[in-house]
């Protein structure tokens, strides 16, 4: 049983839970309460030096960084559940391209928007609306590029779903849930919208989206 140390509502913890669901990997969540700052406790930072969640303990093997955990679990169980990383060299290269697109052309913008509009209010802070506007504006051209890519193929790396698509779900769902001009970013682009509906309605995501 994979031991998952994280916070039920955390984006990165839910990503790992999602991969476990896709791959039919049983896991046990041990709560690290972010609202109490437990991720900064010495007992936690001894294992995760950046004071972040999640990390896993897989039969004594400790790993952190949710995308690394996703890759590790997907490779450990290649023939179980959904196949999430290709092994053919060319397909793998296109997967790496898609994974990098997610990190540097999506999450780097959507993450801070969600930080301002969702996480700050939870801590009683005011969003920096000017920053949100700037970020949203910069997201538009990125999503135009996504539209081009997704009009030619079903998923970001090709015609099969991969981890690269699934990594969009935790922050993307929080972003889309803001409605209005935020949801419009996806809804106004037909191929992007088609892709978003596809990945966000996967049973594995529905099983964990409200808590790992």
């Amino acid at each position: 049983m994979v031991k998952l140390y994280g916070f039920s509502g955390s984006t990165c913890t839910r990503l790992v839970a999602l991969i476990c669901k896709e791959k039919n990997i049983p896991y046990e969540l041990t709560s690290v309460n972010l609202s109490k700052g437990e991720q900064k406790a010495a007992s936690h930072t001894a294992i995760q030096p950046f004071g972040q969640v999640p990390y896993i303990d897989d039969d004594g093997f400790i790993l952190y960084e949710s995308r690394a955990i996703a890759r590790y679990l997907s490779k450990k169980y290649p023939n179980q559940g959904t196949s999430l990383i290709p092994s053919d060299p060319k397909a793998e290269a296109l997967f790496e391209q898609a994974a990098s697109i997610e990190t540097f052309n999506f999450s780097v913008i959507v993450g801070p928007i969600v930080g301002e509009k969702v996480f700050k209010p939870r801590r009683g802070l005011q969003p920096d609306e000017e920053r949100v506007s700037e970020l949203l504006a910069s997201l538009q051209s990125k999503m135009d590029a996504y539209e081009v890519i997704l009009s030619k193929q079903k998923y970001l790396a090709g015609d099969s779903v991969t981890i690269a698509d699934l990594c969009h779900l935790p922050y993307g769902t929080a972003f889309y849930g803001l409605g209005g001009s935020f949801a419009e970013v996806f809804d106004s682009r037909p191929s992007l919208s088609r892709w978003w509906k596809d990945i966000s309605s996967r049973p594995a995501w529905l099983a964990v989206k409200d808590g790992a």
Binding site: S66, A93, N105
Partner: protein, 225 residues
Amino acid sequence: MVLKLYGFTTSICTLRVAVVLKEKNVSFEFIPVDILKSAHKAPEFTAYQPFGQVPYIDDDGLILYESRAICRYIAAKYASQGTPLLPSDPTAIALFEQAASIEASNYDPFVSGLAWELKFTKLFGGKTDEARVKSLQGQLSAKLDAYDVILGKQKYLAGNDITLADLFHLPYGAVILDIGLDKFSSRPNVARWWKDISSRASWKTVKGGIHQGNAIHYRVLQSAL
């Protein structure tokens, strides 16, 4: 056919690919794209790279963009030549992925933000946001404290062997030092690691920019690009 690298001579991401090509002894042809004249936003370019960013490669017809994806592709394709940069056993691979993710999430956002505010924004007519600089500096310091803990236990970010994850840090690390923000020297393990990776011959060869002397063939593209 020799691999073609489309990029800008001193671009961070172009240099990231170049250092790996050198480390793996892979010959390449460099085709310069003048980003200061927005050549990367022209339709002839975005047909290949829809985000309008440099670099991309054409490896015998395979088009690939995103510098870290290109680096991984080269390191895997040429696994048996030059320096090994990707491990092969599952545990080491997982720890490499952890290190690669650390670079992407706990280093790049802060160094790229500082590089933008203190150097690059001016090239494109913008001005420095001092509040943002202060915030990014604070965050980067905290991250590098964690790096110092990790590098106090092992030689490189993924373990005791160098991997792509270490090399990925080079281009922005050099820019940060160049603009006078030395976050490395005060942290002994980080300093040791930085000195190690930044004195590699592959980095020294390309860090000043890609030009005729360090690509196999420097070809100025005499077209609309």
